[in-house]
Symmetry: C2
Subunit: 578 residues, 2 copies
Amino acid sequence: MEKLLRINMSAEGGPEVNVIPIGEYAGLGGRALTSAVISKEVPPLAHPLSEDNKLVIAPGMLSGSIAAMSGRISVGCKSPLTGGIKEANSGGQPSQVLARLGYAAIILEGKPKDGDLYKVFINKDGVKITPDNSLKMLGNYDVVEKMKGEYGDKIACISIGPAGEMKMSAASIAFTDMELRPTRHAGRGGVGAVMGAKGVKVIVLDDKGMASRAPKDPGKFKAANKAFVEGLKKHPVTGEALPAYGTNVLANIINEAGGYPTNNFLWGRFPGVSKISGETEAETEVARGGVATHGCHRGCTIQCSGIYMDKDGHYLTKQPEYETVWAHGANCGIDDLDAIAMLDRLDDDYGLDTIEMGATIGVAMEAGLAKFGDAQAAIGLIKEVGKGTPLGRILGNGAAVTGKVFGVERVPVVKGQALPAYDPRSVQGMGVTYATSTMGADHTAGYAVTANVLKVGGFVDPLKAEGQIELSRNLQIATAAIDATGMCLFIAFAVLDQPETFQALLDLLNSFYGLKLTGDDVTALGKKILIMERDFNKRAGFTNQQDRLPEFFKKELLPPHNVVFQVTDEDLDKVYNW
Amino acid sequence: MEKLLRINMSAEGGPEVNVIPIGEYAGLGGRALTSAVISKEVPPLAHPLSEDNKLVIAPGMLSGSIAAMSGRISVGCKSPLTGGIKEANSGGQPSQVLARLGYAAIILEGKPKDGDLYKVFINKDGVKITPDNSLKMLGNYDVVEKMKGEYGDKIACISIGPAGEMKMSAASIAFTDMELRPTRHAGRGGVGAVMGAKGVKVIVLDDKGMASRAPKDPGKFKAANKAFVEGLKKHPVTGEALPAYGTNVLANIINEAGGYPTNNFLWGRFPGVSKISGETEAETEVARGGVATHGCHRGCTIQCSGIYMDKDGHYLTKQPEYETVWAHGANCGIDDLDAIAMLDRLDDDYGLDTIEMGATIGVAMEAGLAKFGDAQAAIGLIKEVGKGTPLGRILGNGAAVTGKVFGVERVPVVKGQALPAYDPRSVQGMGVTYATSTMGADHTAGYAVTANVLKVGGFVDPLKAEGQIELSRNLQIATAAIDATGMCLFIAFAVLDQPETFQALLDLLNSFYGLKLTGDDVTALGKKILIMERDFNKRAGFTNQQDRLPEFFKKELLPPHNVVFQVTDEDLDKVYNW
């Protein structure tokens, strides 16, 4: 990972490949690298679809090594959805493969002058870019099938579907999983639209002939990895709950806590939760010959995913995640798991962020375009997006645009990005993260559900303002650092509760790079990333006034606890005063 | 004008009327009053369509008097289009009528709890509000016809069309003219959507039994008015050009100057200009039995308007203005005056801002939805808006939303509001106004065409940065003050060039109110208004970063002068440093 792959799509005579030493960005990975490049190289007032924006795809610091859980990848750009800086994070195989190929990042720059669509092939021999207009408007599944036909099945793919080509602000970038299916997505912020604007449909990676990245101290690294895996195995969340039921184990928990947003954030509990819970989902998967415990990339030991079959026992999609099941389920009043799985499949194929799309359909239902609970109508709406009809274009640009176009007042977005699956009124720490994250509303940016609901890393009363600022701040800092490592964020459960597992993580980094990082260094890295991101957003025109939840969260009482969001604006403004 | 009419649409049991003394707002009129109320009473982060927003409709300080040109009215709210404060200004009869009825402003507050649509009737006996769902989705022409049937033809109407009811961000509010036609519009910023959100379809005004407002010193007032009218008559713009050819006299002039934006701001000259110029328009009107010299309200001496007949000699619309002819014409490559007049009629009937809609169709054409120059396609697109189809909803929300939905990079907006009919690269003073106005891109906010092109009030080279900041600043200050008086902005031509006409304006104000205002006081008033507006925008989250033109104006050379916008960001930030 000592080189950068810069591809200038604007070059005369077609895209120009430049493989250069990492230089000033040395030592950075994942989100630290993507945010550094965007912050330094992209003019903050550039149009997100213009040649001045860049798309940075960066494995983490430990990606490509044998460290467990190190297969996350970061995608950075100026976001078409928020207008601010964006890091969207994905699992799947490409992170490990790209890292083994030696690239710290792929940076797509410029914009093709012609209307051609390109594919990029990268292996040990170099980089090849070819126009391939036969790929135009293919879904992600078809793109990957086509690439398998051309390059064999030992590849990993990074691709966009029709949504990205149509430059929709809810467009994702797909990363293939271990089965070479496009099921893992850098979902948020419209990163797929930026890849679409760059004219790149798919990046095919083949690491044949490349070894795992070697640590400086192999012995210590191996020992640290062992301790790290043991820590993950023994924690109840990462060792039991997530493997057994996947992320959707949260449905019953968050519903019970009264924080499961239902019918476009009208209520905090969903009457149909038992039909779409993680328990029901796992049972359904196993009964149909699917898989309820599965990883998204090699080296994953938590195995929070699975494989979802349709009623006839045929593959439909990967196990829909908690956020997806909520977004397309409770948030739209839908309790039909098969319909939700179909929506997940369509989103993955079109290349759409499931959170944004679920929130968008909730807003569309509020606007009267369909009734809450009407699963078939929801499927119909998503198909409009895939077809690119005017209605589909509206929806594919997310909840904020949909709310604006249809004159809806209750639109659950911050900085233009839809809120995920925790109502900020009954999980107030999440409200602080939604409001203040550099990313727009993003649960992964500072997952206060830990202390608010799960009692991981302490306990902070979820219905009160007290302690939420500090909780969210500390989590946002820690998360930014973890997002730089390439580690799956779910390690945080064990790392927060078990000092020895946190130490094992430090030992992994130190033995790999020959460093002597302490906990303070990790905190410093997290702060550095956040400061960089916030500075970009400031230069792009953001102020504290954008660090606010929509007004209705401060005015409408949320059943069953009948609370509003309590954290004051003054307190929100303290998150970055550390 | 010593009382305010507050209507609380949220009240239990239906809308509640409160007529109260003007109190703390005494002495304010027009934009000074609307911006004071919005700035003080509307939470800056309120959703523009929420009950917390207010719609303020205020005649100017001299409205309702016999002063010439005093029939302008201001509409204020938090804008659904820009997210900032908004004052949209209109001619027509209602300003004089409302002022004679003694109201300094109508303030619509709250939001009806039911889905009913209301009409408001105001006469000397008081205010009556009734639900009237038979008005739902009527065009402005039909609404006014219906009101004539109910209340007779001695009324004046303020109404919204389907666009306002659908809460579109390009929705205008219509004000009837002397012929009781809904041809005058507070066009910009989506004020019609706010009236729609308040559930008010039409306000009917009847001033039977009310006299003109009496000045403190009738003798001096009469003399001042005489001097004022003489000044307007002797200036070549207000005494000759505008009466003869209307505002569209500018088409040839601005085209010649290379500042007539063509095909979505691609070129600065339009090959088809002679077919749509003011000269051609006036000739066409006269030949068909229309009128080429006409006022929009009683007391107008400039008479810049007219009446446009179709090919068969039947009334089609009022004389389409320069901005309208440009927006639906050159900006879309359309040189068919009858088609442009039809678009004007449709916009007036649906209740849409012609500038925003022309710019929006330009963006839609850039997106490939129609070909530049295809007049029938443009008419078809506007009809989609009236029908409220998904495509129509997109377009009806303006150029910024349309650009976002269709992934277009070249979108000519500032703060979300479309640029009017002067390319900022060849009329750089206008560029400064577009960028820095509190209103979003707005030519009326500081009409630098005066010194840049018309050589009124001095000369500043339009292609260079030098002098533009000071020019725009001074014009923005003067304009804010004029917008408070109820005077038509076109008096500025004579007032800028002729000291005695400026003195006559001061004399009008002083003799009416018993004041001793000097030029400095007028400047102070303008500054006070701008500071208030800018402060609201700041509290709503705006920074200097929003005071910028889209990037393409800084990068793409505009033929024929092949210049980019030259004013630096640093200089733009000096506009409000006075």
